[in-house]
């Protein structure tokens, strides 16, 4: 690979009225890994997308080997040797692994036909790079739709690497991977570094950044606010650059409330397409965290309790068996779900805040609807949650991430739920709103609401929940609380090892 330098200078970009990037800058060089770090909303993904030609920039320059370039579309970036790995974004589900990897640069026969045999054999060669980290489902002729998320991510990575790029951008590429796959990827990255590839590693995960990166650029609110050499820096320094002020990483003290004895929720041998037999019970007013590596059934569990999945087994709510076959039925039992993807699952973007808040509740307002009462109720809840908005009639798309999340929570709080299910609710929410949110959850528990809280952020689980259920492969692998509830135990049980395994540094065999 040839030596290159890639500079982004003062890139700006806005979407509608919102500024995503004010001054995005970075320098990437061959043979090193540059981490691009920042909280959600900092603009790091936008910057990555501009560099790879997916989005236009408003102003600023990209200089590639001392020459200014404009990548009008991803193809132009590919041709120049700049390729990105996203999260499953560029795979066509109805096509095979081989077809996806070689799309747009398929090997051809003499007659201009796609050389299918060669694509399959070349794909096998690429798959060898990750050998031992995936199951037998991952083959060249497998239809991508049938693969689990981690294998899809591997295909994404192989797809990028098949182009032999000079610059490789990994945008949250490790999110769906398990630790063995991440280890494998990092070894590959080290090899690619030696082959002179320039790598940009966009990530949220501090430990990974400190494992693999040489330098780090920090973005905050669309500005590049600092650059550090990893070897000379610390987690605390980077976090403070991200947040803008010193913040302790210590555990926040939370008042541990007394829990009543009444059992609110009991699951007996719950099975779905993903769950393999889940058993646990939760007391009224308890806040139980759900953890584990992403994609192990956590979201599926929450959706099943909300009536959105077919299931076998028993669900008992306050002693009564129930079989919700539609979210409507679950709602009638005073269950509420805050889904994981705000924009596509939780909000009606072009409708007003008022309508979003009352969507599950309109039958309470009579025929014809008493809009005055609805408005005053909505005002009430928006004050309680401290929502910052223009007016109740403004479209919900005008709100920031944190406030939009408040709308979703507000719509369920208006119903006074007995069981509140939360699917990674603080993703993409700013630090201030997160703190308000945690306080709200504590108050709800105190007044008797039972809460199940799934988070992909291990630290958040430990800080917030006195009890965490760790899931893997559709089972509950561990029920941690009290002294057992440590980050080390969380991680090791997520990988299937026991509570003591972490001390011995064993790596768990991937279960067939």
């Amino acid at each position: 690979m040839k030596s290159i330098t890639l500079n982004a200078q003062s890139i700006t970009k806005h979407f509608g009225g919102v500024v995503a990037l004010r001054d995005g800058s970075l320098d990437a060089n061959s043979g090193e890994v540059l981490a691009l770090v920042g909280a959600n909303g900092s603009g790091k993904s936008t910057l990555a997308k501009i560099i790879t030609g997916v989005i236009d920039r408003d102003s600023g320059e990209i200089v590639y080997n001392a020459e200014p370039v404009v990548f009008k579309n991803p193809l132009a970036a590919h041709i120049a040797g700049v390729t990105a790995v996203y999260q499953e974004l560029s795979l066509v589900p109805s096509m095979t692994v081989a077809e996806n990897i070689w799309l747009t640069h398929e090997p051809l026969t003499r007659f201009g036909q796609v050389d299918t045999r060669k694509t399959v054999s070349d794909t096998r060669k690429l798959l060898k790079l990750f050998e031992g980290t995936y199951q037998s489902t991952l083959r060249p002729n497998a239809v991508v739709d049938s693969l689990p998320p981690d294998e899809k991510q591997i295909v994404e990575i192989l797809k990028a690497i098949s182009r032999n790029p000079d610059v490789l951008i990994l945008d949250e590429a490790t999110a769906s991977l398990d630790s063995r796959q991440v280890e494998c990827l990092f070894n590959l990255i080290k090899e690619w570094k030696e082959q002179n590839m320039a790598l940009i590693f966009v990530s949220h995960r501090m430990d990974e950044i400190f494992r693999i990166a040489d330098r780090a650029v920090v973005l905050r609110n669309g500005n590049s606010v600092g650059e550090v050499k990893i070897a000379e820096s610390s987690e605390a320094e980077i976090v403070s650059l991200m947040i803008g002020h010193e913040s302790g990483l210590g555990r926040t003290e939370r008042a541990r409330l007394e829990i009543a004895d009444e059992i609110a929720l009991e699951l007996i041998d719950l099975k779905t397409d993903v769950l393999a037999g889940v058993n646990f019970s939760v007391k009224k007013g308890e806040m139980v965290g759900i953890g584990g590596i992403r994609g192990q059934g956590q979201t599926n569990l929450l959706h099943t309790l909300f009536g959105n999945k077919r299931f076998e087994g028993q669900i008992k709510l306050f002693g009564e068996t129930m079989r919700p076959n539609h979210p409507h039925a679950a709602m009638k039992k005073d269950i509420a779900l805050v889904p994981g993807d705000r924009a596509t699952q939780g909000l009606l973007l072009i409708r007003s805040i008022l309508e979003n808040l009352h969507l599950p509740n309109w039958q309470a307002y009579g025929i014809p609807l008493n809009i005055r009462k609805a408005t005053s109720d909505a005002n009430g809840i928006s004050k309680t949650l401290n929502m910052i908005m223009e007016s109740l009639d403004a479209p919900v798309s005008s709100l920031s991430g944190g406030n939009a999340q408040k709308v979703i929570i507000g719509k369920w709080l208006l119903r006074d739920p007995k069981l509140l299910l939360l699917d990674d609710p603080t993703k993409g929410v700013d630090v201030g709103t997160k703190a308000e949110f945690y306080n709200l959850l504590d108050r709800l528990c105190g007044s008797g609401t039972t809460i199940l809280f799934y988070s992909s952020d291990d630290q958040e689980l430990i800080d917030l929940c006195p009890r965490v259920l760790v899931m893997q492969d559709g089972f509950i692998k561990a029920d941690l609380s009290g002294d057992n509830l440590t980050k080390a135990n969380l991680v090791s049980t997520s990988m299937g090892a026991g509570l003591d395994a972490v001390n011995n540094n064993t790596v768990v065999e991937h279960e067939q």
Binding site: F15, V54, L347, L348, R351, E355, I367, S397
Partner: protein, 328 residues
């Protein structure tokens, strides 16, 4: 992955589409006054205005069901509306047969037929996942076929006097009875859309069916209900139409089909669903009717009307209908 919920939005027009439609209607009406057959006097102008309004009313009535299915999203459209109007006209004409006493029973019967046809549409769309365009178009063929079987090309009947009096003639202060009917109907439709749980849920499924489901809305039932209501409304329009036409015909409904879609679009209802109003459809119907009348007065062949409707829809789509998203 997304950092902001906002996506790339193009510049928005600040005047609401309904107001634009009304202004356009006014302009067209005044313009028509300057034509050779235009207004001779104020009385004449008022007469012409009432006439236009009356004709628009029928179009808007037929467009009511269309408004609902388009708001419901999922590329919603009802191409069987024309056929339902026709069958309603024929049944009304035949079964009332000039008898005032039959008016109410026949009304219920005809509306029930329309609802049944709409029910089929809704079931096919919601449960068999047949795209609305294809399903309703196919259903239109079935209804037309059924018509032929029943009528064998012939039809007879008579209008009831009470219908003629209310619908075709003036009722009070020289204002046509039809207009009162229309206003009451408009109020009913607006209440349905803005002040009922059904209406709120309709907008919800038009915007995002997954969110609606996860907020407890039974999407499939809503779809079935909406197409059934649309069928019932189309049948109701056919019933009223007989009062005006004093007659029936085998192709009566079809000529209203495309204009009804154009009226909904002109009135500001998003063709992708989730946003709109019946008031807009009313304004849009007036605009479309004015254009039709203009073209007829200019003695242009009917073919020109078709081309004009198609072009209007294309222009509207270009102005209002661009999908958000990444540049693709």
């Amino acid at each position: 992955m997304s950092e902001n919920i906002q996506s790339s939005e193009k510049k928005k027009f600040t005047i609401s589409p309904q107001v634009t439609a009304l202004l356009l209607a006014l302009l067209l009406f005044l313009a028509s006054g300057f034509l050779p057959n235009g207004f001779n006097s104020v009385d004449n102008a008022i007469n012409q205005a009432f006439n236009i309004l009356r004709l628009s009313a029928f179009l808007a009535l037929i467009a009511a069901g269309q408004t609902l299915v388009i708001i419901s999203g999922g590329e919603g459209i009802d191409l069987s509306a024309g056929a339902i109007v026709t069958i309603a006209v024929l049944f009304t004409y035949k079964f009332i047969n000039g008898d005032n006493a039959m008016v109410l029973p026949v009304l219920f019967f005809v509306v029930a037929c329309g609802a049944a046809i709409g029910l089929f549409n809704g079931l096919g769309i919601a449960y068999l996942k047949i795209p609305p365009f294809v399903m309703t178009l196919g259903m239109a063929g079935v209804v037309t076929g059924a018509l032929l079987v029943v009528t064998r090309g012939l039809y007879d009947g008579k209008v009831a006097p009470i219908m003629t009096n209310v619908i075709a003639r003036d009722l009070v202060w020289g204002i046509p009875g039809m207009l009162f009917l229309w206003i009451i109907f408009g109020v009913f439709m607006t209440i349905l859309l803005e002040r009922t749980r059904y209406g709120k849920q309709l907008f919800a499924i038009g915007v995002n069916r997954l969110t609606a489901r996860l907020s407890g809305v039974r999407v499939d039932r809503m779809i079935v209900a909406t197409y059934s209501i649309a069928g019932a409304l189309a049948a109701f329009s056919g019933f009223i139409l007989v009062g005006w036409l004093q007659n029936a015909g085998l192709l009566v409904g079809n000529q209203y089909l495309f204009p009804s879609i154009a009226a909904v679009a002109v009135g500001g209802t998003l063709l992708s669903g989730g946003k709109g109003s019946y008031f807009g459809t009313m304004a849009g119907a007036i605009v479309i009717q004015l254009i039709t009348s203009l073209l007829t007065t200019m003695q242009l062949p009917e073919a020109i009307q078709q081309i004009v409707y198609g072009s209007i829809l294309i222009v509207l789509l270009i102005v209002y209908g661009r999908e958000k998203g990444i540049r693709l």
